[in-house]
Symmetry: C2
Subunit: 225 residues, 2 copies
Amino acid sequence: MGKRHYGQFCGLAHAADLIGERWALLIIRDLFVSPKRFTDLRRGLPRIPTNVLSARLKELETEGVVERRVLPRPDGSVVYQLTEYGRDLEDIVLALGRWGARTMGEPGPDDIVTPDALVMALRSTFHAGAADGAELRYELRVGDVVAGAHVHDGKLDATTGELPEADLVIETGPAIKGLLTRELTAAEAVTSGAVRLTGDPALLDTFVQTFHLDRDLSVTEQSRS
Amino acid sequence: MGKRHYGQFCGLAHAADLIGERWALLIIRDLFVSPKRFTDLRRGLPRIPTNVLSARLKELETEGVVERRVLPRPDGSVVYQLTEYGRDLEDIVLALGRWGARTMGEPGPDDIVTPDALVMALRSTFHAGAADGAELRYELRVGDVVAGAHVHDGKLDATTGELPEADLVIETGPAIKGLLTRELTAAEAVTSGAVRLTGDPALLDTFVQTFHLDRDLSVTEQSRS
DNA sequence: CTGGATCCCTCACGATACTG
DNA sequence: CAGTATCGTGAGGGATCCAG
């Protein structure tokens, strides 16, 4: 069965052949956070039909973007992870996420936030320059979804789940978007009640300096700054 | 008409909602080269059904990625062009094209090369550093598709069609890919007959230094170099 | 329980014809 | 030239089922 194909001898057309099918980019997003089993992927993408997930994983595997690995005994289960070629999409995925976030409206009633999406939001809005030597741990709670950001040595470790030793716990909801775009100042966010803090409230300013979306920055400039 | 929607409050998911539908990315590619009329787009994307092209243009327009402009009288025709928001995809599109090109095989019998694809290939493989002060004009012919590259002041003007005053005319076929990936050296390309030159043959080395694909470079590094 | 495969239905896409 | 109309097909969506 010959796959659907744009029929152009062009890098972009080939890229679209590889990762342009429905759900592929979101599967890749989740695999950037960590290798996952079939069921983990389902949990992060609750609306994907299992046959489509199955098909995408097979396609991405034959294309060399994802690899399937069988865990050692006694578990013997299967995990999917990005290949090196797949990981080379990182800057593109982060940049595309920033681009999309700029026109994202309020969440609809059935829009969800997943832990992996939150981790990627942190990674894509991270500004190495603003971190500036300090070591800080943030726990970010959006609804009941939790992610942790550990900033140290100008680098970021962002992971799903709680971060026990956090210097600041930020509890919020859809207002997270306004915070990261800086349409909402840290002060407003707190006084309006859109954000609840545990820890030193002054650290929220540091947080938005470290994690924010610049409306007018390109791919390159963002990753440089 | 509620559009199909991933249902995740996530920048990447929203980006995929905006430009993830079939053909959208290739329409955008062609509009990066120049504003176009409906029929021009058809010519560059011969396999797109007209109803799909029509639907994509409407969607991209309501999303603010593309704008429809009616030309002044007496012509009165319609052109589509990217909005500023759409143009912000440039680095992403170029990077994605490079990523895809790395695993592109030989062209199949019905794969085509279009002038716009060739222009974007030049833009995505351009290395400002290598241009180094000199002003040079290349005319690139892949099959019967022609594009021109004018390098000056460390910048690139790449356009479709012939470039009358070219310092070097490069005539080739699918071998263009080997040339740009440097799997094929300039010398080999010429002696094997895969490339025919008109002008100073030594300029082909300059060409591949200026235009090539680095197998191991990320988005950021490529645009910096 | 995980890791899918299978079935059925619908709609987006593909091909082509046609119109202002 | 710039699309709209029509219609068939296959990918995607949703639910269920099954093997290890």
